[in-house]
């Protein structure tokens, strides 16, 4: 059981990370939303695998929540935003695609270094996936910093949360359910508020390019 479990966990984590890296080399918002959707499904599946092998009822609930909200509801909301603003493309990010991918690779390596003490301490069969989750966290930060469209930044933030959820699931088989629900509600509310602010940006600036947002630089 141990080895199959471990392999599935690492495979799931790798998928989650790869969909995150997609954000770095695709430029259209449609592709970004698709990548986020696929990532959320992969995350839910990974959590379901952990639930299956550990027999934890709570984790099944968590997996179902991820699938429903991050895999279905949030992508629908994102698509609605995209329809309203029209396809937005990252034509001219602060860091170009090739460099971004190189930095992304380095960040994953860095994640392996950072998480070494954690992996050494852990006895769980899922531990090999933790550096990948940390890698996704760093890559999401890169996306948020290096991209200019508000929509891309929102997706980067959602992926950051996916990375944290994955880290928690792999490292601790899930935080207590009541806390998980609180965190989840917070994430959802945060996303909705971000959406409101993005709509306001669109209304007041008539653009989603955060380059426009430089009135307050002094």
């Amino acid at each position: 059981m141990g080895s199959l479990f471990a392999q599935l966990a690492v495979m799931g984590s790798s998928l989650v990370l790869i969909f995150g890296l997609l954000l770095l080399w695709r430029r259209g918002s449609a592709a970004h939303i698709a990548a986020f959707t696929a990532q959320s499904v992969a995350l839910a599946a990974t959590v379901a695998v952990i639930a299956r092998f550990t027999g934890s009822a709570e984790l099944w609930v968590v997996a179902a929540m991820f699938l429903a909200v991050k895999g279905v509801v949030m992508p629908l909301l994102l698509k609605r935003m995209e329809r309203r603003f029209g396809e937005s493309r990252e034509l001219d990010p602060y860091v170009n695609t090739a460099t971004s991918l190189v930095i992304g690779g380095l960040l994953v390596l860095f994640a392996y270094i950072v998480t070494r003490p954690v992996v050494e301490v852990s006895q769980l069969p899922t531990r090999a996936g933790m550096p990948l989750a940390m890698g996704l966290i760093f890559v999401s930060l890169l996306v948020i910093i290096s991209r200019k469209k508000a929509l891309t930044q929102v997706i980067g933030f959602l992926m950051l949360e996916n990375g944290i959820a994955l880290l928690a699931a792999l490292g601790t088989y899930g935080i207590p359910l009541i806390v998980e629900v609180g965190v989840f509600l917070d994430a959802l509310m945060g996303f909705l508020v971000m959406q409101i602010v993005v709509y306001r940006i669109q209304q007041t600036f008539e653009s989603l390019d955060i380059e426009q947002l430089n009135r307050l630089s002094q």
Partner: protein, 486 residues
């Protein structure tokens, strides 16, 4: 104690509900909210009294809420500033600048904002605290653009994005801490309680705990406005309506620091305080330096106050890295800053109402236009730069003494130099606002006099704290310091 907790946390929720249900919005909803804010403050004071009597009130399943001296101190500060905002904010009738819709939005979200901060400082569970602090971003981001303008929308976007990311990183740290704990003690309901973490800390894995603390410090440090993660702060504080700026600057930064103090205690028990102290000193000095230098040549008075908030958070952060005396100084500074800075932001709101500009160049002759407002503004500025007889003189003095006592003379020399820069910058700017010719079209006279009463009370409190008239506060601070360095 159940009733006290209910009064503390329930009153702001009830106030928000009343404002939401009163359709169309009526001033009585705001007035009821203002009364409820006093109930919340009374509850916080009662909890502080219980703590001073030696008790540690708890409430809820699995002791979910728990108030020790540190929590009580923060709860009093938060509910005090929230009460000021409720009494001075829009929505109490006769308001020229905000319509009923805006007043309702302010009432709902500022009350919820107060609730989330109070929940954060009284939660015994680290994850519940995290949820509450994350919720502070959500509740406050929606009322930064109370008046929609390009600048306020931009400020709220920066605020919500940067702070959400920061808080997410703090959650990574929380997960790592939890990870370490359950590998030690197994899963349990109380695993995420401060009390359990503190008890288990000595056996935790040093490297994992250190890694967790780095994430925690960067994460909550973002929310506390520590450099170099401070970039959202001047915009958000300058663009928000005055009562919200007061709450954000006066106590939100303190709540974020509170989270850092709690975790630092755990890390200190696990690996000793060398690493956390060093990190705090670096971040504190960086914040102090960036803020002091930004004060020079600043053109907007609300941004001036915002950068001064970064400066003071930096000072508190430095104090936390300087042993028990430093921690005492930091907490005393925290209380003084909560009172002084919220007073200043309310006064800046009055100035903005009169002069209709946030530019320093557009404000002059303040003492002639509004003598009391101007006088209080000057007093507040003297308090902020740390002159006697105000409380911040004592806290800064204690901080510098702590620095020398713990063997950081060079650090303290740098701190004193930076404080001097801030001193000159602030006082010269204020001088220009107070004196000089009145711009054309600015009326003379105070306007809403009743609004000055609570602000005068703030000034009195500041002087009282500076003259050592704070026996009970000192007792509470002493106990809080024990919590930080246990």
């Amino acid at each position: 104690m159940r009733l006290t907790f209910l009064a503390l946390l329930g009153s702001p929720v009830l106030a928000a509900l009343l404002a939401a249900l009163a359709r169309p919005y009526r001033a009585w909803a705001g007035a009821a909210g203002a009364m409820l804010s006093l109930l919340s403050l009374a509850a916080a004071l009662r909890l502080a009294g219980r703590v001073l009597a030696g008790a540690t009130p708890t409430w809820g399943p699995g002791e979910m809420m728990r108030v020790d001296a540190l929590s009580a101190l923060l709860a009093v500060c938060v509910s005090f500033v929230a009460a000021l905002a409720a009494w001075l904010g829009p929505g109490l009738g006769r308001d020229a600048h905000y319509g009923p819709g805006q007043a309702r939005r302010f009432r709902i979200f500022s009350s919820l904002f107060a609730f989330t901060m109070l929940a954060a400082v009284t939660a015994n569970n680290v994850a519940v605290m995290w949820v509450a602090i994350e919720a502070t971003t959500i509740t406050s981001a929606l009322i930064i653009p109370l008046t929609v303008s390009k600048a306020s929308v931009e400020a709220s976007w920066k605020y919500i994005l940067i702070c959400s990311v920061g808080i997410a990183l703090a959650f990574v740290g929380t997960v790592l801490g939890y990870f370490d704990y359950i590998h030690l003690a197994g899963e349990s309901e109380s695993a995420l309680n401060w009390t359990s973490l503190m008890a288990a800390a000595p056996a935790m894995h040093p490297r994992v705990v250190e890694l967790a603390f780095v994430f925690i410090l960067i994460g909550y440090g973002t929310k506390a406005g520590l450099a170099p993660m401070h970039t959202w702060l001047p915009d958000a504080h300058a663009e928000a309506p005055a009562p919200l700026s007061a709450m954000m600057s006066g106590v939100l930064l303190a709540v974020a620091l509170y989270a850092i103090i709690r975790w630092k205690a755990v890390v200190g028990a696990a690996v000793g305080s060398t690493l956390p102290d060093r990190l705090l000193l670096v971040l504190g000095l960086a914040s102090l330096a960036i803020a002091s230098l930004s004060l020079v040549g600043q053109r907007h008075y609300k941004r001036l106050l915002a950068y001064s908030s970064i400066e003071h958070t930096g000072l508190m952060c430095l104090g936390l890295g300087l042993g028990p005396l430093g921690a005492f100084a930091a907490l005393l500074h925290l209380v003084n800053h909560a009172v002084a800075k919220s007073m200043m932001f309310f006064l800046s709101g009055r100035i903005l109402d009169r002069y209709r500009t946030t530019e320093l160049g557009g404000v002059s002759g303040l003492l002639r236009a509004m003598p009391v407002t101007g006088g209080l503004f000057a007093a507040g500025m003297l308090a902020l730069v740390g002159l006697p007889p105000f409380g911040m003189f004592l806290s800064k003095f204690a901080l510098v003494r702590a620095g020398f006592a713990t063997g950081h003379p060079w650090l303290m020399a740098a701190v004193l130099a930076l404080l001097l820069i801030a001193f000159v910058a602030l006082l010269s700017q204020v001088h220009r606002m107070l004196y000089g010719a009145l711009p054309d079209g600015v009326a003379v006279g105070e306007g809403n006099r009743w609004g000055l009463v609570p602000l005068g009370l703030c000034a009195v409190l500041l002087v009282a704290m500076g003259l050592g008239g704070f026996g009970l506060l000192q007792a509470l601070l002493d106990r809080a310091v024990e919590v930080t360095a246990r």
